[in-house]
């Protein structure tokens, strides 16, 4: 069948099961937009391409499918870069289509030309420039396949305008991919599995250290089985939040820089670390040479390059986390009773709980209290996205996540401006769920234009700004490590967020007293047809504690409560 390249593209997307793409038009993608006009694929018009990438990214994190975004050549494509890098760092399956100038103009600095495959080389799992119509279908197939298999990641497909415009032969979407250098890992080394089983049997003070890989491989259930069967406490990374219910007795919450004291102590005192789908990020391990000094370490990961990259491990197992755990768990006898180890941990939990004090500032609420109230109001039945900074850490500390794919945050790159577009992507993936963006007043301003997208799409997402009128996390570092010299972190000159929300056609509210928090949330959750922005005025100089100062060992935490 003969059709235009752009029509072929959309046919392939349909075959691939793509339901929605997030994008922004421009000259180089005009043929694609023209084809979209009469296509069944839903297109969400964002207001900045960065928003498209983050929305597609969150859509992928929430749904487990591949997220898709589309931008024009040149500035459109470069505006995607932060979003692509964000997805790369957090191993999110994303396919980004970018327009490109016509093939005969490539390399001539034509109007709106950018070498996007060159630019994204270090921040994509793979990328393509389609140079011939004959390659288009194969490349689309490969792009989706590469994005979602093995360790997931973003793939960029650059589409020259003439290839989208020109008619070509379409002979169907291929069933199979043929990439000889890229093989999907099917099995793991059983010898290593048996070593791990033996180590788990013998451990007296084991800790599971679970990361984003658990969620992306769909291993949460089998991980819970392992923990509960063997009564092993579970600490998660920021990316791993939700893979184990934080309401469970065995949950230690998050470990690392802003982790709980008991998680960090447990890791430091353990004799066996079962590291699952993690990458020993420096924000997690603290000073790497004193991470888990007494422990034997099992490391399970799909990406062989992660094993031994930052930390030498005793029992490496390369494989899909879910498959590996499914091999391990049935080989273990259930542990009957809780041990001395649990009593030690119980004592730490009692002695060093996550707490916070009353607000000392009249007319300002404790940010932690707001997060707690969001938790009470939703009972964990919500998807929380965050911006970056203190808001993100308080969300991770004071909201109790019980299910995977409900905490959507930029972990590896720490991208301010992620939360609002992410909330849009999340709500589109799961219209049945309450979606809340826990935001900072700084970060929200980085992609606030996406309020317009949310209004247009009639998405009832709730944006809770923890407004401290500071770039709070940076201010906290200045307070602790730069003698309180608050260089350029005071952002008290800011828009009236209530009016701004209203200007966009959303609902705006302001809350300054603790007793008004719950009612405001209740009111916000009753809205069904548009976004709500709640501007919570929080204590200006509240800090995130506990905190492992950068470069210190997990033992040396500052502040147990705030």
């Amino acid at each position: 069948m003969r059709m235009k390249g752009a029509e072929v593209l959309l046919r392939c997307l349909k075959e691939e099961g793509v339901e929605v793409i997030f994008g922004y038009p421009g000259g180089a993608v005009l043929p694609i937009y023209d084809a979209l006009y009469s296509s069944e694929v839903k297109h969400v018009l964002v207001r900045h391409e960065q928003g498209a990438a983050h929305a597609a990214d969150a859509y992928a994190r929430v749904s487990g499918k591949v997220g898709v975004c589309l931008a024009t050549s040149g500035p459109g494509a470069t505006n995607l870069v932060t979003g692509i890098a964000t997805a790369y760092m957090d191993s999110v399956p994303l396919v980004a289509f970018t327009g490109q100038v016509a093939t005969h103009l490539i390399g001539r600095d034509a109007f709106q030309e950018a070498d996007i495959t060159g630019i994204t080389l270090p921040i994509t799992k793979h990328n393509y420039l389609v140079k011939r119509s004959e390659d288009l279908v194969r490349i689309i197939k490969e792009a989706f396949y590469i994005a979602r298999t093995n360790r997931p990641g973003p793939v960029v497909v650059d589409l020259p305008r003439d290839i989208m415009e020109r008619e070509m032969e379409f002979n169907g979407y291929p069933e199979e991919v043929n990439l000889r250098g890229y093989r999907v890992l099917k099995s793991c080394n059983m010898g290593q599995v048996l070593l791990a089983v033996e180590a788990i049997r013998q451990a007296e003070r084991p800790v599971i250290y679970a990361g984003g890989g658990v969620i992306s491989s769909g291993a949460s259930e089998v991980l819970q089985e392992l923990a509960i069967k063997m009564k092993i406490p579970v600490a998660t990374t920021l990316m791993g939040i939700g893979c184990f219910p934080e309401t469970h007795y065995l949950s230690l919450g998050m470990l690392g820089m802003h982790g709980t004291r008991y998680a960090n102590y447990a890791v430091s005192e353990s004799d066996l670390i079962i590291a699952v789908g993690v990458r020993f990020d420096d924000r997690v391990t603290g000073k790497i040479t004193s991470f888990a000094p007494h422990a034997k370490v099992i490391h399970i990961d799909i990406d062989a390059a992660e094993i031994g990259k930052n930390f030498g491990v005793d029992i490496p197992i390369v494989g899909d986390v879910k498959q590996v755990l499914e091999e391990i768990v049935p080989r273990l006898e259930p542990r009957e009773k809780f041990s001395e180890w649990h009593r030690v941990i119980d004592r730490w939990k009692e002695e060093f709980p996550l707490t916070y004090s009353e607000s000392r500032e009249p007319g300002r609420i404790k940010p932690q209290y707001v997060v707690e109230q969001i938790y009470y109001a939703t009972q964990g039945n919500a998807i929380i996205t965050t911006e970056v900074g203190q808001n993100q850490m308080w969300a991770s500390q004071f909201y109790k996540f019980t299910r995977p794919r409900t905490f959507i945050t930029s972990g590896g790159l720490g991208t301010m401006g992620f939360g609002l577009p992410a909330a849009i992507g999340a709500k589109i993936a799961r219209p049945d769920m309450t979606v809340i963006d826990i935001a900072g007043d700084g970060s929200i301003q980085m992609n606030i234009q996406e309020l317009c997208t949310a209004v247009e799409q009639r998405l009832p997402i709730v944006i809770c700004i923890l407004n401290n009128q500071y770039l709070g996390m940076v201010r906290q570092w200045q307070e602790l490590f730069f003698g309180g010299r608050y260089s350029y972190t005071d952002i008290s000159l800011q828009p009236d967020f209530v009016k701004l929300a209203e200007a966009y056609g959303a609902i705006g509210m302001r809350v300054k007293e603790a007793q008004d928090v719950a009612p405001a949330l209740r009111e916000a959750f009753s809205v069904t047809d548009r976004p709500v922005v709640i501007d919570f005025w929080v204590e200006r100089e509240a800090n995130v504690f506990p905190m492992v100062p950068p470069g210190e060992s997990l033992y040396n935490m500052l502040g147990g409560e705030e």
């Binding site: 495959t117 060159g118 080389l121 270090p122 799992k125 793979h126 420039l129 590469i146 990439l179 000889r180 250098g181 890229y182 990406d303 062989a304 390059a305 031994g308 990259k309």
Partner: protein, 159 residues
């Protein structure tokens, strides 16, 4: 320690950039890199000499493996191989120096491939040690220009 990796990749445009980017981004030091087509025109072989301890080499190898276009990687550092490098050296050569230079070139079984009024261009191939030696021997005369291809290696025997 220096390691020699023989990397088989798809012969696609951009593969070299991918490999180079990987090395640059992760701060690995490439000592030399030689690329060319193989007996199969769809496939290229890179001979990469990289400096680093075992941990670094393991990382390099694993990261290279992750490239979609990498087909196979062999660490041939401790394997029986034939290694060759080609060098072109333009050396200062006035009338007096010439005969001495020609003798040196003979010893190394090099060839003189160009004669200028005050210079010679010498071509030599051999393993890295030999190329280093000829370079050192000609240095006293004044090397005007020098270009080395980087090492290419092939495993001995049937494999």
């Amino acid at each position: 320690m220096k390691h020699t990796l023989s990397v088989v990749v798809e012969n696609h445009p951009g593969v070299l950039a991918r490999v180079a980017t990987l090395f640059r981004r992760r701060g690995y030091n490439i000592d030399s890199l030689a690329v060319g087509r193989t007996e199969n025109p769809a496939v290229s072989r890179m001979t990469i000499v990289v400096e680093g301890d075992d941990v670094v080499i393991e990382q390099v190898t694993k990261q290279l493996h992750k490239l979609v276009e990498t087909i196979k990687i062999y660490d041939i550092t401790d394997q029986p191989t034939v290694d060759r490098e080609l060098v072109l050296i333009k050396v200062k050569a006035d009338a007096q120096a010439r005969s001495e230079i020609i003798q040196i070139v003979d010893v190394f079984r090099g060839r003189i491939v160009d004669i200028g009024p005050n210079s010679l261009i010498i071509e030599a191939t051999g393993d890295t040690g030999k190329i280093d030696a000829i370079e050192a021997s000609l240095r006293p005369f004044g090397i005007l220009e020098l270009v080395r291809t980087g090492k290419v290696s092939m495993l001995r025997g049937a494999r």
